[in-house]
């Protein structure tokens, strides 16, 4: 239950003193007010990126308190976004937003918006080139430098480029052409990688003004045609772990601002590969840094099912590459993330059936064509990341969530 009182639109201050209730045991009359976000640690906040495909001009970031299982509020992010970023050590929240003059037509304007983390009101709406990339997989479309100063945004027209936004000075800095490369993988205070079609990670480093000071090409670390890696990778310190379509992990670290392949290992045994185990969903990897654990969304199926929702999370020791746990998921899941704290939660953007499983099975057994029904709704499942226990499910968490972000 929220305790802190916000402020009221209705100015009643003068009256509170001189008024009396009608009877002592009546419920007191109330003044409506606006809540503010709770104080204290944000580790167990969860932000769902809601693509809202049946209302694309109205994507949202939906904020939850994972401990209480309650919604905290939402940010409206316009056309095909739902992207939010939480600068470390600051309370503000950064979003990317796109608007057409007339909903789906007319002039397009893109913004990086800085919201006050307490009031959720927009503080700065920074106009950026109206070219940011939109896709179903949203998790690496943009990100902050580690110092929280700059936001790098991938553009696609289909020519590719990166826009840099200065969040301290609230201004668009500039745009750099990045032919054949896109998506943002921060590696240090002022550097981030971009993933290139030749299978390499190029490291871009910004100067104090946000201009690209250096660009370092990396060696190709995978074959984009033989076994391509998925875009939604997971960060481990200065390294990123990419998983390939065939279940290989490529661990790429930035050393002196050049990307180096540090290790390659397999998530699955040969036997599991034969049984068609692979990662699933659109945000399949998450890492808990303090315990060096990797969480991977897993499913069985052909290569064409690599983005379909997954049934299990497999847990690995990042140092030994050993599989150490299997977490059966309560609902089919599209995206996972793990909180950073020492009582970490595994947050899962899931699809929950609108009626119980058994009734659906019955429908199917009795001959109805299962695929004719709309039987799933998005839910947010919260698990204990250490034990794998399912703690709670938050129903109707979004219209269609494809990413899970958190502070």
């Amino acid at each position: 239950m929220k305790k802190q009182a916000g402020y009221s639109i209705v100015l009643t201050a003068g009256l509170l003193l001189c008024a009396t209730p009608l009877a002592a045991d009546d419920l007191p009359a109330e003044t409506p007010y606006v809540e503010t976000m709770p104080e204290g640690p944000r580790d167990h906040w969860v932000a769902l990126g809601d693509l809202n495909p049946l209302g694309s001009p109205d994507t949202r970031v939906v904020l939850f308190d994972a401990d209480k299982g309650e919604m905290l509020g939402l940010l409206s992010t316009g056309y095909w976004s739902g992207l939010s970023y939480f600068p470390r050590g600051r309370s503000d929240i950064v979003t990317l937003e796109t608007y057409f003059e007339k909903g789906t037509r007319g002039k397009r304007t893109d913004y990086a918006v800085i919201y006050d983390g307490k009031t959720l009101l927009p503080l700065h709406e920074i106009e950026i080139p109206p070219r940011r990339m939109t896709a179903l997989t949203q998790t690496r479309m943009a990100d902050l430098t580690d110092d929280g100063r700059f936001l790098a945004v991938t553009n696609f027209t289909p020519a590719q480029s990166v826009s840099i936004v200065d969040l301290a000075e609230h201004r668009f800095v500039g745009e750099v052409a990045t032919p054949g490369c896109g998506q943002i993988y921060p590696v240090s205070a002022r550097s981030f990688g971009i993933l290139c079609g030749d299978g390499s990670l190029r490291i871009m480093t910004l100067d104090d003004a946000g201009q690209v000071a250096t660009q370092a090409e990396g060696e190709p670390f995978f074959d984009a045609f033989k076994d391509p890696v998925l875009v939604p990778a997971a960060r481990w310190g200065a390294a990123w772990l990419f998983v390939s379509m065939d279940g290989m992990i490529h661990e790429v670290a930035a050393e002196n601002d050049v990307a180096k392949l540090r290790a390659t290992w397999s998530l699955i045994t040969d036997r599991e590969r034969k049984d068609r185990w692979r990662t699933g969903g659109v945000q399949p990897l998450a890492i808990h840094e303090a315990t060096s654990k990797l969480y991977a969304l897993m499913r069985q199926g052909g290569p064409e099912t690599y983005e379909e929702p997954a049934e299990e999370v497999w847990v690995y020791d990042l140092k030994t590459h050993a599989k150490i746990d299997t977490i059966p998921l309560t609902n089919l899941t599209l995206a996972i993330n793990v909180s950073r704290d020492d009582k970490p939660l595994l947050n899962a953007a899931a699809l929950k059936t609108v009626v119980p499983y058994w009734s659906l099975a019955l429908v199917s057994i009795l001959g109805n064509k299962f695929a004719d029904f709309d039987v799933v709704k998005p839910a947010l499942d919260i698990y204990d990341a250490h034990t794998g226990h399912h703690l709670r499910t938050i129903d109707h968490a979004a219209n269609f969530a494809t990413s899970v972000t958190q502070p």
């Binding site: 419920l27 007191p28 409506p32 606006v34 939402l74």
Partner: protein, 168 residues
Amino acid sequence: MGRLDKWFEARTRAIARGTSRRGFLAGASAALLGTAAVPLLPVARVQAAMPTDGDATSCDYWRYCAIDGFLCGCCGGSPSSCPPGTVVSAVTWVGTCRNPNDNKDYIISYNDCCGRSSCGRCACQRDEGDMPLYRTDAANDINWCAGSTADIAYNCSTAVIMGVSTGE
């Protein structure tokens, strides 16, 4: 399947009647007699958090007897507060709901919260005493965000206690 369908249909329809009201996503709530007029009423007012006399996230909660909208209690607000980042509607309409705990009739002001996308959670339509649009004192179909500083962008609906009804 046809016979089975028919066999259950009568019963299901009866259930669906009760369900559709909750699945019936819609409008807004808020009359010119509502909390805009609050400062004029001679009663003490509090800023209340989540109430403890019922489930504020359930459409069945007593205060919601005349509501039609998304419950703010499921959206980052409460029956008497708006979610962060929104504004309280400037005008509203009122309903009268019986509180089962003390068997008194309370006047409830259904202020809308405005200025952000519709919350989409806990759609609730109960419509007790709801009147057509020209009865602005009691029309919950109107998007009462109209006239708020955020204009018609509707997020969710509250159910604010104004006082005990003294009868009509």
